[in-house]
Symmetry: C2
Subunit: 376 residues, 2 copies
């Protein structure tokens, strides 16, 4: 994997770059749609390419390990072959889902024992076997196995947890380096900074992570309930100690304005379920602001969902029709809202990149945020 | 509307024709996907064109009248403008849904009083106002308001019901002829033959319907629970007394083999929720037979859903991936199965047409039916 840094904004830490992977090029800053079990919910692979123009999608190791399982993924030749997505894929390590979804999880030095949320079966995730699982999934970018402490966490717990994450990281790196890709193309490992909301822990973690000299670095444990200002403070602090010549990935963030603010702090990569999950609830992010499409006011609005986007779906369907689909519980409504929201997120990061390259990112961002936040 | 009859099969009553409407040409025999509330469930308008190649879709007057309502449909300039489907649309009369879905329905000479299944509100459908509603929806083909008796029905009830349907039909025709299209293009009215499973009633009804000299004629009240052989017998009997120079539409039918058998009896048009509804339950109709995609046997089958179809979705996704989507309750599974089944139905009627034109329809049909019926 190669990362080329083209420009850093003069008035902020925003950067425009290019990541080159075995499955193609990613222009940063980038947003990665979440394809939990190998499908971005409600959106076909063709729509992801043609309508959303996604450059990379995310898969969840926890979900894919449980269903369909590594056997069929290996038989298919990896997730790309299994789901027909031939652009880059990043997989998380499963740590976050083990802590948020699984039952009876028990953290030990060796790893985490848990029960499947589907059938109660018992499993063990270790730094080593999670590397193996992601090798088998065939992700272009593999995430280290970490513990993600909740917000708020006591200092003592946050520190102990971070230290465990660091010991696991060392094991991840060693196991990753001692194993080969399964399908003939290169995979990259990204470690994850933890440390909850404590600046000294975040610095220590960022320095430890930076010392691993991986292809890119991630910041985890944010956007878990803390105030937005605290997220920005922690993110900025981490970025200070993460190398500038590697891509920086802020996990699980966030709203459109969160993304623009974090780009300004030096983040290159984002993922979040918000565009698809909120879309399925009828919440649309548009170039003019936020829409609750179920609202009565859209019942006779025959204007396109968003004329400001270069997305056929957003221009073809009207607000009145989309509202009708939601009110009538039609599946197509979920699909249209998901495609639109994802297309909007991708549009937003493309715009951000253009403004970074043009040298006016901060001005543009400050003018955009009030528009993006307004409720229509 | 114009109907041109190209060929009638020598060994059967199968016909190949062309219907020309204001929104384009329909090659018969044809299958019409059902777009209940103005959306074919789970399938986008673009997919309906590009993947399914639907030539005409159906809308349900009962559903569209209740939601989104005629106000917004008129404001949009009709359903074509509201849902973005610019090819032909046929609307049923609402009669069938009033009898199957609505609460506290009461049949009177004037029409039917019923309560909405959505909010319990009271409404009256009459032959006249149902014509007005369909004028407002802007369908290319409008159906007469009829009563659809259940199976089985006593002879006396079937006869009384049929006579009411005939009196309503006369009122429909008179009101239709005394009103104008709302959006500047021509609309056609199709009357409906009833008579339950009684040959003398079916003949009387077909002769009454034929006497109306409408642009096309429909057969209703079949595929409501009677044995298949009885459906074929009634259909053949009706076709005998319906003019050959008008399209014949068999409402609500059916399985792939039902369609091929009824084409052989002289039917030109079909609609059915089966491809979409069964698709959403994981039942796939393919060129090789019927598949229950949830079955364990497909878990590691990495072959395309159906290589025999000229449909990108059916060739792109594998059985193993589609099964995974169904087992994981992913929305995309419903969409893929619906697209595939509809594409298969359209493929089937296209093939039927080619064999009618080639003169070997009956031989082909008899060789196909055992294949279509087999469980894979």
């Amino acid at each position: 994997m190669q990362f080329q840094l083209h420009t850093t904004d003069t008035a902020s830490a925003a950067r425009a770059g290019t990541i080159t992977t075995a499955h193609g090029v990613i222009e940063t800053p980038i947003f990665m749609p979440v394809g939990t079990v190998g499908s971005v919910k409600g959106v076909s692979q063709q729509q992801l390419k043609d309508e959303v123009d996604a450059q990379i999608i995310l898969g969840n190791t926890y979900h894919l390990y449980l269903r369909p399982g590594t056997g069929i993924l290996e038989q298919a030749g990896g997730l790309h072959k299994f789901n027909g997505w031939d652009r880059p894929i990043l997989t998380d390590s499963g740590g976050y889902q083990v802590f948020s979804l699984a039952a009876n999880r028990k953290i030990k030095e060796e790893g985490v024992v848990f029960q499947s949320h589907i059938d109660g079966s018992r499993h063990l995730f270790t730094p080593e076997n999670v590397m193996d699982t992601q090798r088998t999934i065939g992700a272009d970018i593999i995430m280290a196995f970490d513990e993600c402490p909740p917000y708020p966490s006591e200092y003592g717990y946050a520190k102990t947890s971070m230290e465990l994450t660091h010991r696991w990281l060392a094991r991840c790196v060693q196991h990753f380096n001692s194993t080969e890709p399964k399908y003939g193309y290169e995979q990259s490992l990204f470690p994850i900074v933890q440390g909850s909301t404590y600046k000294d822990l975040r610095r220590a973690s960022a320095e430890f992570v930076a010392g691993m000299e991986c292809d890119g670095n991630a910041i985890g444990g944010l956007s878990v309930g803390e105030p937005e200002e605290m997220m920005y403070e922690m993110c900025a602090h981490c970025c200070e100690f993460l190398p500038a010549d590697k891509p920086r990935y802020l996990m699980g963030v966030g709203t459109p304005w969160n993304i623009l603010e974090n780009i300004a702090l030096g983040i290159d990569m984002f993922d979040c379920v918000m565009p698809t999950r909120n879309g399925r609830n009828g919440m649309l992010f548009t170039t003019q602001g936020v829409i609750n499409i179920r609202n009565k006011k859209w019942a006779d609005d025959l204007s396109p969902i968003d004329q400001g986007l270069d997305c056929a779906t957003s221009r073809f369907y009207t607000k009145a029709y989309l509202r009708h689909l939601f009110i009538s519980s039609e599946i197509l409504g979920l699909t249209i809202a998901s495609i639109h929201n994802l297309a909007f997120y991708l549009h937003l990061v493309r715009q951000a990149r253009q403004h970074i390259l043009a040298g006016d990112y901060t001005t543009w961002k400050n003018s955009m945020i009030p528009i993006l936040k307004q409720r229509l």
